[in-house]
Structures are given as C-alpha cells and as structure tokens.
C-alpha cells in the first residue's frame, strides 16, 4: 500500500440521520402523524386535488359506460394495432406500482432504515396504481362481466380452461397475486398505527371505524412479535414479486414473434423501467404532500436524494435496454428487426422515439448532480419528465411494433380517440382521488416504525 493512496483516502462521514431535527420523542412523532388525520381541519389544497380527481372519476365512469354500451370500437383500435392505449396504460400503471413493493419489501430485507418514512405512502401508491392498471385489461375485453370466465381457470360447465401456455393467463395470476400480497402487506403495516388513531380519536364514530380497522391491536409483546414475524414473511413473499410481475408482463410481448417485442432483454428491462417510473411517481406525490402537511422532518432531503439515486440507477439500466434493442437489431442481421428499429427511429412515430430518449435518458442525467438531487423543484421536474418518458416507452413498444409488422399490405397508423384519452385521464383522477383520501384518513407515515429511528429507539449498537 503506497503512501499516496492512504493520504487521498477520504474521511468517512456517516450519513445524516433519517429524521429531521424537529422530531425527538415518541410522542412528538405520534402526535404529528395522528394530527394529519384526527383533525376537523383539512387544507384547502386537499379539496382542490380531490375535486379534480372526482371530476376525472366522473369522466372515467362516462367513458366506461359508453364503452360497455358501444364496444371497444370507441377506441382507436383496429387491425393491425389491436393493442392500443389500454395496454400502454396497463403496463404504465403496473410499473408505477413497483416502487412501493421495492421500498417496502426489498429495502426492509436489506434493513434500509430510511425507507420507514416513505414506505407506507409508496405502498398505498402501489395499491391504487394496480387498481388503475387492472381496470384496463378488464374493460379492454369489452364485456368485463364475462372476463372472469375468460381469465380465471375454474371448473366450469363448459369443461374448458384458459390457455395456460398464453402469457395473458400468467398475467392474471401475476397481477392478482401482486395485488393481494401488496394489499395485505399494506394493511398489516397500518394496524399498529390505526390502533394509535383509535386510542386518540375523540369522536365515537371515528373510534368505531378505527377500532374495527385496528382489529383488536393492543400492542402487547405477543402482538409485536407476531407482527414482526408476519411482516418479514410478507416481505419475503413480496420480494420475488417485484421482479416477477413486470417480467411476466413483459412476456406478453416477448413471447410473441413480432419484431420489437420478441426480445430476451424485455424482462429485466421492464423491471428496471417499472422501478424507474415508480420512484418518479413516489417523488411526484410525496414532494407536494410533505410540503402540504409539513412532513419535512420525516421525509427529509436525504430520502429525496436516495430516491434520486435509485432513479438514476434504474434509468441507466433502462438506457442499456434501449441500446441493446438497437444493437441486437443490427447484430441479428434480420431484415425485420432492422426495419423495426429504423421505423422506430425515423418512421411515422420517430418523434415519439426521440422524445422518449430525451425524457428517459438525457434529462435524468442531471441527477448526477447532488444539488439537483436535493432540490425539490428539480426533482419534481425530472420525475414528471420520467413519467412522461415511461409512457412514451410503452407507446413506442406497443404501437410502433404493431403498426408495421412483416406484411406491408397490413401496415396502418394508430390514432387515439377522445375516449382513449378520457379513460386514461379518468384513471389518473381515480389514482389522485384514492391517494388523497388515503392521506386524509389513514396513517400516511408508519409512526411505529419511525419511532425506532429515534436515537434511543435504535436496537443496533
């Protein structure tokens, strides 16, 4: 070991604490988190968001009602583009959900303590995002009341089963498992906090509601022991789901033989994209909420910075995926693959491709700068750009691959209709509406986990 290397070695600086300076005791934490919910006062900004959300939910209802009445012909779908906005948005929403599971399960297993202030809201985001995602394939069937027997294998009186070799049926299992595990994990995590609400609530109705939701939690040592064990087991169950769900969804595409879909890179590249989009959405939601409710002591700049780093990493994996698609298009020497890539970059939808590169690869490189990662306005901007970029990615994959396949005589363009956009906007409204209801009525931060972050609460030496 030379003299110079030891002298340039940097002094180790411990990471800043997970909590801001304002939070020093168990009581102050619980008080702060319960005060968001157990108060007659609701910030007017909350009403604005919920109102916008509700109006969009109305639009969603009208869109779905009209769809059921008229059929999926109201969307811009036709031969050859039979998978349009519905599938784009299915993948987009499912992807957004992944950040919640990653934060709550994988970071729990890796004992990343900083996750405790963001895991609850990220899990809620997962639940609502998966709900939005699930709507699309259901209404895409045109007759959702029949979808159960098309999708679920059950011993029916027709003695027929779904095609188990089809990735579409794998999807049904992947998404429904994902939703169930996420829901149980999310709800279980809230039980101790709901019990705090129950004990602190003044009004009888509130006490009954939180009393039912707390499911008899008394905070005894036995309860805590079982709680910790169940959390760990659920985290173990949810961890493979982070990787498997979006892998299975990518198989919807890659199992087919269509150029642009038939790619082995898809599963890892979809998972990275999901985490990318998911963290962007977490930031988009949490930055305004921490400001609105004064949660800067819980969701500190350290959290935002960490999320920026995760986004940067995921973004680079996604960029590698784009590069590999281009490389393989050339390396395979297949005319169809080559044409697909050329058409993607310079064809009718070329502008979408370059916008995608700009949004998903170019602009997020600002995250290399620490100042950007610690600046909420920059983070909001980059997160928004990434959300748009991930939408563009799914658009490019679904539409440009389908609209010009092997047979030039069947090539055609896809143009979304008003109802395509209305359904999409409606799910965004539903998402906002549901999320803000959650913020108003449920513990948005895991108070009992945050309490372990206090200096005297830490178990480690």
């Amino acid at each position: 070991m030379s003299e110079s290397s030891t002298s340039t070695r940097q002094q180790y600086t411990p990471p800043p604490p997970e909590l801001g300076p304002g939070q020093t005791s168990h009581t102050s934490i619980t008080e702060k988190i319960t005060s968001i919910v157990l108060t007659p006062h609701t910030p007017y900004q909350w009403f604005i968001v919920v109102l916008i959300g509700l109006m969009l939910v109305g639009l969603l209802q009208v869109s779905i009602a009209y769809l059921l009445y008229e059929g999926i012909g109201i969307w811009g779908l036709n031969v050859p583009v039979g998978w349009g906005f519905a599938i784009i948005h299915f993948v987009w929403w499912i992807g957004i959900g992944h950040a919640g599971t990653l934060i709550s399960a994988i970071l729990l297993l890796f004992r990343q303590k900083w996750r405790t202030s963001i895991n609850r809201s990220a899990e809620a985001m997962t639940i609502f995002a998966v709900m939005c995602a699930g709507m699309f394939p259901l209404i895409h069937t045109g007759r959702p009341w029949l979808a159960a027997y098309w999708l679920f294998p059950y011993p029916n009186s027709m003695a027929v089963w779904p095609q188990f070799r089809s990735p579409l049926i794998w999807d049904v299992f992947a998404v429904s498992t994902y939703f169930t595990v996420s829901l149980v994990f999310w709800f279980l995590g809230m039980v101790p906090d709901l019990a705090s609400f129950r004990d602190r609530a003044k009004h009888r109705v509130t006490r009954v509601i939180y009393g039912v939701l707390a499911m008899g939690w008394r905070g005894s040592a036995v309860h805590w022991e079982r709680y910790e064990m169940t959390s760990l087991m659920l985290a173990g169950l949810a961890t493979p789901l982070v990787l498997s769900v979006h892998s299975v969804i990518s198989l919807d595409f890659s199992v087919s033989i269509l150029p642009g879909w038939h790619t082995t890179i898809f599963p890892p590249y979809f998972v990275a994209g999901a985490i990318y989009a998911g963290f962007a959405m977490v930031l988009l939601l949490l930055i305004p909420i921490r400001r609105l409710y004064g949660l800067q002591d819980f969701i500190t700049l350290r959290h935002l910075e960490n999320m920026g780093k995760v986004m940067l990493t995921a973004g680079l994996i996604v960029a590698y995926g784009y590069f590999m698609e281009q490389f393989i298009a050339w390396y395979s020497a297949s005319v169809y693959e080559g044409f697909m890539m050329q058409n993607r970059m310079f064809g009718d939808y070329g502008s979408f491709y370059w916008a995608l590169i700009l949004c998903n690869i170019a602009i997020p490189q600002f995250l290399w700068s620490k100042r950007v990662r610690r600046n909420t306005v920059w983070l909001m901007f980059i997160s928004f750009v990434i959300s748009v970029g991930m939408w563009l990615e799914r658009f490019v994959i679904v539409i440009t691959s389908l609209h010009a396949d092997f047979m030039p005589s069947s090539w055609d363009m896809f143009y979304p209709t008003f109802w395509d956009w209305a359904t999409y906007a409606g799910t965004i409204g539903f998402f906002l509406f549901a999320f803000f209801l959650f913020v108003r009525g449920m513990p948005v931060i895991a108070a009992h986990e945050i309490r372990t972050l206090l200096p005297f609460g830490k178990k480690e030496k």
Partner: protein, 218 residues
C-alpha cells in the same frame, strides 16, 4: 376513555378468518354449480305445447319409427319437425273429433303450422348436426333419453358443453352399431369401451379432431 371494543370482541376476529374463507368458498361453489342445476338447464321439465303430444304413446304404444316424423335426421343438420299433414295422415282417420286435437285440425284448415315450443335449444353459436351423429352410430337415446317413456317431451340431458365433451373426448363409451341407432331399448354391452373402440375405428371417427373448437363452433 374505555375501549369501544373490549376483549369480548376477539372471537369475532377468529370467526371472521374461518368464516370468511368458508363463506367465500361456499359462494364460489354455488356460483360455479348454478349452470349444472336441472332447474337452470330444464332437465326433466316438460313445457307447455299447443297439443300435449305423447312420444310414449306414439313410439312405445304405436311403434312408429322416429324417422316417420323426423324425416331429415339422417341427411340434414336439423332432424325435422313434422308438418301438420304428417299428423293428419292418421288423425284424419282416427280421433277425428277429439277436442285435444283441435289445434292440429285448425292448423290443417288454416294452413298455419303448429307452433311447438322447442325443448332442445342449443345456443346459436353451436352448430350441431344430426346427420353426422346418426351416421357415426350415436343413438337418439344417448342424447334425448328414453323418449318412448315420455308422455310429454322433456330434456334428458343438460346440453352443457361439458356434457358434449364427455362424448367428444371418449366416443367409444357412447357409440353403438349403426343399426341400433333408432333402437330405444338398446343396452350397451359389458365391454362397451373395447367394443366402442372397434366401432370408432370401423366408422372412421376422427377422434383427434373431435375436440377442436371449430368442430362445433365453426
């Protein structure tokens, strides 16, 4: 403040776990089996007809062959509902005054066909063909039951798809010699599966195609 839900409520949580699973399974079981109920498929339930026509009387009592009335069963998808003239070939000579047969005579006078209520009604997306089933040795009795014992017509089988597939997946269990197709009293031999396999081969039943969607749903 005392708790609203005391310890005595704990039993509810335990019961809800077991009850939730049991209740959901029960509900699912009911939903899945509704289609199999005779009440839904109308098995064994006669329907109102303009004339209370008795297959029992005409087949078992008089010994009339199925094909006397259902004339196209051997060469057409549709077995054929007899025109009023077929009825009148006998009933212009016997029971000519019977009040029960007045709709038949009215139909003959006014040249308006009788409006029978269909008993065996498959969904429109099922393209069933009588001729091929008759030609390949599937007896009337296999699907329509012992019509010679029915004073009024009713369904003997559910006509659910799982019932169709029971035979399409294993025709050797149901096939019979061609000459026995119209025999209402045919009893399968003890070695039906083996004997049936012989017939399947002899008649050239393409078992590999029998469960293709397009065989029945075109």
């Amino acid at each position: 403040m005392p708790q609203i839900f005391g310890r005595s409520f704990n039993w509810f949580a335990n019961v809800s776990i077991v009850g939730g699973i049991a209740g959901a399974s029960l509900l699912l079981g009911i939903l899945l089996n509704i289609n199999r109920l005779d009440y839904v498929s109308h098995v064994g339930m006669p329907k109102d007809q303009p004339v209370p026509f008795s297959h029992k009387h005409h087949v078992a009592g008089m010994g009339i062959d199925c094909r006397y009335c259902h004339t196209t069963v051997e060469e057409s998808a549709f077995a054929g509902i007899p025109p009023t003239e077929t009825c009148m070939s006998c009933h212009s000579l016997i029971w000519t005054e019977a009040p029960m047969l007045e709709p038949v005579r009215a139909s003959f006078r006014d040249e308006m066909p009788l409006q029978w209520t269909r008993i065996h009604d498959l969904p429109d997306f099922v393209y069933f063909k009588h001729d091929i089933h008759i030609a390949q040795g599937i007896g009337c009795q296999t699907c329509h039951g012992n019509v010679d014992a029915m004073p009024l017509m009713w369904k003997a089988q559910t006509l659910n798809m799982e019932w169709c597939l029971e035979c399409h997946r294993a025709p050797q269990d149901f096939i019979r010699p061609r000459e026995e197709v119209f025999n209402m009293n045919w009893v399968p031999p003890a070695n039906q599966s083996a004997a049936g396999m012989e017939l399947v081969k002899k008649y050239g039943v393409q078992t590999s195609q029998l469960t293709d969607c397009s065989v029945c749903h075109l």
